[in-house]
């Protein structure tokens, strides 16, 4: 059977799926990137191979997305390297064909995608500031002595969520400390954080966008039921969280790899190959472009980062 591999390498987590030609998921894996995308991908590939081992499956095309898509695209010899916005839209539509709005909050970034009749008509992505994303929730969970997974359930217990300034995480944090010290209950504070994430998201990324149902919420933060409830309260409509919501980018890029029409059998034994990256600074002008070379053993696979042709030979 023909199958397609999609890998989504984010700043915090790395996701991989193997799908058949009808975009049904045959194998999936989700783990932490831990600042080493190449190693994380090797572990993902290893896990996926174990899941499809012994079955009659041949991966014919590979796609990569996420912030390390270029590097991993070279490492895996991907047919398709796509930005995460398009990948998420395609992936989500393969699960929820009539989706109109996609909320996505990940570890460091957040985006909104507006669709109409199966076509992306508008989108936005956070710039300059990572306020209200997963890493903010993580640091606040730690401050409150909670595991990140506990936040959602705890928020649901709250009857009277604390108001927390949502504009900026620095203000939010000092507000939160203050509210805790004057005696607000922990579950109220946690619910307040969830509300703050939602209001920050809708006032920044979602500003000026026409949010219509059906709404799908995904990315790591969608696992937090407290944030889901806050979204439902503010938008006044149901917010659907897919069981594979965290895999949509990987799923989308697997579909795109299939659509590319380019086929080449993929070798899962990649985890034993050594890939090395080397960064050099081109000294040929004051731009000092940081050029990255990717080696497979001794061979240079690819280089990038130069602004002009002078850097190519560096």
């Amino acid at each position: 059977m023909k199958a397609y591999l999609g890998v989504d390498i984010g700043s915090i987590s790395t996701k991989g799926v193997v799908v058949d030609d009808k975009a049904q998921i045959l194998a999936h894996e989700y783990l932490w990137t831990e600042g080493n995308p190449i190693h994380a991908v090797k572990r993902v590939i290893d896990a996926l191979q174990k899941q499809i081992d012994g079955k009659d499956i041949q991966v014919k095309a590979v796609g990569t997305t996420g912030s390390a898509r270029k590097l991993i695209g070279v490492v895996l010899g991907a047919q398709t390297v796509k930005n995460e916005i398009t990948a998420h839209a395609i992936g989500t539509m393969s699960r929820v064909p009539d989706v109109r709005t996609i909320f996505e909050i990940g570890g460091q970034d957040s985006k909104i995608i507006i669709l109409e009749d199966g076509i992306v008509t508008d989108y936005a992505m956070n710039t300059l500031c990572a306020a209200g994303t997963g890493s903010f929730l993580m640091s606040q969970a730690k401050r409150l002595g909670l595991a990140i997974e506990e936040l959602g359930e705890m928020a649901l217990k709250s009857q009277n969520p604390t108001r927390i300034a949502a504009r900026c995480t620095v203000f939010a944090e000092s507000d939160l400390v203050h509210k805790a010290q004057i005696g607000h209950k922990k579950e109220d504070i946690v619910a307040g954080i969830c509300n703050a994430v939602v209001s920050n998201y809708l006032n920044n990324v979602g500003k000026g966008k026409r949010i219509a149902a059906p709404i799908v919420f995904q990315g790591g933060v969608s696992k937090n039921v407290g944030v889901v409830r806050a979204f439902e309260q503010v938008t006044g409509s149901d917010v659907y969280v897919d069981e594979f919501g965290h895999l949509m980018g990987a799923l989308g890029v697997a579909v795109l790899a299939k659509q590319s029409g380019k086929e080449q059998n993929f070798d899962f034994n990649i985890q034993h190959v050594e890939f090395i990256t080397k960064g050099t600074e081109c000294k040929k002008c004051a731009n000092n472009c940081e050029i990255i070379h990717v080696y497979r053993g001794e061979d240079v696979l690819d280089s990038w980062g130069n602004r002009c042709e002078r850097g190519v030979s560096a």
Binding site: K82, N83, V120, T121, D122, Y123, T127, G208, R210, A286
Partner: protein, 357 residues
């Protein structure tokens, strides 16, 4: 008294006419020089010595000044405009003096000032300057700016379809080099016509109905490619025709950018002037939407107040005409990858839309 070496900040390719004009007006024994091309170092220098919250064009200008002062310049020229730019000159002059540079600094008000103010400033530098000579020099510089704008418009419309990668950019360099050699209106016209033909002769593969995107926004970011990560050329790489109205010739000599003209056409979207280029951003977005463009890119420096004013209105136009708008705020730390990711998604979105029709 030592020779006066006059310089100015960079913006796009306009260093050619600006340098020509300043050189012509400088007088005997004096000369004008261009700052070194903008690099990361320029931005680092500018950022280091600027107030943190000032808009990014200020930092680029200051970086240019410091680099050119190190190259020997001792007279600097700045223009001022109808926003925070109105304070650029005074603040930059003070910063440079505090850094210990000896210089003369001239600020020319481009918004309210007249050609006469410009002449008076130069009369100060070069007391022998005559009005007729100034007008002649100004005519040549103007013609140069028109030539650049004409050639760049052709580039924007066609570079996305070049068959040989880099052919347009190489030709552009040759053109600017040839233009810088011209000394009178006839020569400028000759260079322009010669290179327009050369550009037209470059092989391209352009569909009859290409995807079209327009660029609007704040003057400096729109016109200085270094500050916007060469966004026009990056856009073109996705096989698009790029349109931009904001150029020096448009800004200085076209009445169409004036608030009265723009407001006549904006109907219920805009009733009064919102300052600097923001009124124009709304007016041109509306023009692009009405002309059936596939998308709009809105550029501004982070914290640019006039352009922040224009954004909700542009967003409204986007919804009414179903034309996607991509907004960018540039400062000194935006990553190139982030820009490319958003542009690629924008191009994908347009491709999907076109494919479905």
């Amino acid at each position: 008294m030592s020779a006066k070496i006059i310089s100015f900040p960079h913006i796009g390719s306009y260093h050619v006419p600006i340098k020509f004009l300043l050189n012509a007006l400088a007088g005997k024994g004096n000369k004008a020089i261009s700052p070194p091309p903008i690099t990361k170092k320029t931005l680092e220098l500018g950022t280091k010595h600027s107030p943190d919250f000032v808009c990014i064009p200020f930092k680029y200008n200051l970086g240019n000044y410091i680099e050119v002062l190190e190259n020997g310049a001792n007279v600097l020229v700045q223009t001022s405009g109808g926003c925070r730019m109105g304070f650029y000159g005074e603040v930059q002059e003070q910063i440079l003096r505090d850094l210990g540079y000896e210089l003369d600094f001239y600020t020319i008000d481009a918004e309210r000032g007249s050609a006469m103010d410009f002449y008076k400033a130069f009369k100060d530098i070069n007391p022998k300057l005559s009005i007729t000579y100034s007008i002649a020099a100004f005519a040549v510089a103007t013609r140069m700016a028109y030539a650049i704008d004409g050639i760049e418009e052709f580039i924007r419309k066609n570079i996305g379809f070049e068959l040989e990668t880099g052919s347009f950019e190489r030709m552009e360099k040759q053109f600017l080099h040839a233009l810088a050699q011209a000394t009178n209106v006839i020569q400028v016209g000759k260079v322009y016509r010669e290179y327009l033909l050369k550009f037209q002769a470059l092989p391209i593969c352009k569909p009859s109905n290409p995807k079209k995107v327009g660029v609007v926004g704040e003057l400096y970011i729109v016109m200085e490619p270094f500050s916007n990560y060469c966004i026009e050329k990056e856009l073109a790489k996705f096989g698009m025709e790029v349109t931009r109205f904001l150029t020096i010739s448009y800004r200085l000599f076209s009445k169409k950018h004036t608030a009265e003209y723009v407001l006549k056409n904006t109907g219920s979207y805009l009733k009064y002037d919102i300052g600097a280029d923001a009124t124009d951003s709304v007016g041109k977005s509306l023009d692009l939407a009405r002309a059936g463009y596939d998308g709009i890119i809105h550029l501004k420096p982070f914290g640019c107040t006039p352009e922040v004013n224009s954004m909700p209105i542009v967003q409204r136009i986007s919804q009414d005409f179903k034309i996607p708008v991509l907004y960018f705020s540039f400062d000194s730390q935006t990553s190139e990858t982030g820009v490319k990711t958003r542009l690629e998604a924008f191009a994908d979105m347009i491709d999907m839309k076109v494919a479905s029709q």
